[in-house]
Amino acid sequence: MFWRLLCKLLRGSGERLAVAILALVSCAMVVSALLNLEFDIERKLTQEFRTLGANLLISPRNGQITSSSPAELMSESEVSAAIQSVKENNVVAAAPFLYIVGSAQNTAAVIAGTNLEALPKLEPAWRIEGQWKPAPAQRTACLVGRNVAQQLKLTVGNALNLTYLRKNRRLNVAGIIDAGGAEDNQVFVGLPEAQYLAGLPGQISFAQLSVSGTTTSISYYAARLASALPAYEVKPIRQITEAEGDLLSRIRLLIVSMIVLISVLTALCVLGTMAALAMERRQDVGLMKALGGSIGQIVTLFMAEVGVLGAAGGFIGAILGWGLSRWMGQRVFGQAISPRWEILPVTTILMVAIALAGALPLRLLGKVKPAIIFREQ
């Protein structure tokens, strides 16, 4: 009889309850989408931030890192061995760099020796005309910055003569880089080429790494790497990691605030609807009490009704929210946010709680005095 009564109650007040369920579905949809976003935001933001380039730097201790004067140098093999030994899945890319100021076609130019193969992952935001050369071809390929190419009238496939002190190399331009920064004035060659020109075999100026993760996890990885390289300095590039952590915290705060705000507004909407419903049901409650219904039985019945509304609203809204989160992910990050199943029960339970909180006026029906209700009539 309980379920029969419940169905009749739900059908009997359909129009008024439709307002409440609409509010609950809308709330659940937004909450579900925001929770999906919240669960995925770290991965998405990390991906976004990785396009900004390296966020970890290994440099000589107290060494001045400038592109023109490699004041102190590091051992390439030592650094490479340390990166290999401190295994970390979050390392997106790692590349050593050796900078020299030589000449290209008899014009002064900054020459950066590096692992050309790692550059696309290390600097995904750079645009290239031509192609990143695969490793086996590094010895004869180079990449030139946009300004260098413009100045020397170079196009992809041209030959480029590089000279440093008395040594020179003739390389093919594999691609022209548009980095939007100082790199547009540089020539990127394979590390062995730069080491040959500089006469510094096995030496590098510094190494850059792109590591995904939170500020804490990046700092932790940096600390592990530092202990493996006690002679060098390993430090996160603060502007990037801190901005990443800060933005993540702000977005999370925004998401939580919005969930709280929407939940409160929905509870108020349900409260208004239920207050009106409570007024309508005073006579029914008076009658139920006259028939021997206890406060517990009657309030349980109405609370169950509200609970069913909350569960239905939460379930429907959570599913709609998945669609909304996919759309939001597509719009904001350019790729859909994958739905997480655990959000379905979380949203449903949250909506039941909101509905029950909004059903406070129905609890007051327990205080209805049948004699007063009948007397009013």
């Binding site: 006579q283 009658l287 406060i295």
Partner: protein
Amino acid sequence: MRTLVQVDDLRKEFGKVRALAGVSFKVDAGEWIAIMGPSGSGKTTLINILGGLDTPTSGQAIVDGVDVARLDESGLSRFRAQKIGFIFQQFHLVPYLTAVENVMLAQYFHSTTDEKEAQVALERVGLSDRIEHLPGALSGGEQQRVAVARALINHPKLILADEPTGNLDEANEETVIQLFRELHNEGHTILMVTHDPAIGNLADRRIEFAHGRLVKVTPSNDASQNAYR
């Protein structure tokens, strides 16, 4: 005959308004009592207190050995479910429940529901073809008969009827009164508020109220009982 209802110096005040001013009487099991009097004389207040819908300001109202004035909220609920069958002037059926569900509602609050038994109760009041109808689809007389079936379904010790024919036309009034006669003949104890002297005459005794006081108790005789219609 066993005393089922005993009222001693019962008083009820609503602020400065005195609804009952020291009422005392007894009702034996199986008696049909008509409570009569002008509007505002305290009839409905008395019924409400005896049915556990209201509490007295002072005095005793003992029904089947239970002093209603001493019961708490939960005790009153159990008392109403187990000992009382209400029949109201306004019928008070739940509009979104069918006739049989309205009867089952009383079963639900009493103990467990039995749809078959509820159907039999409706058949008894002549509504076998109206079992699945909503109250809105029933006439006033039919609604009141559903209310009678609902009042009887838990086999209450005491039937309290407040103007049960007050909203009915003549034909329906006759049908409902006939039901009360049958109930009385079966040994049910009935306290019925009525304004109609003809209906009052059908009862074993008429208790008349004025200004919250019991002013007259009149036993009916066979002649007056047969005088109805």
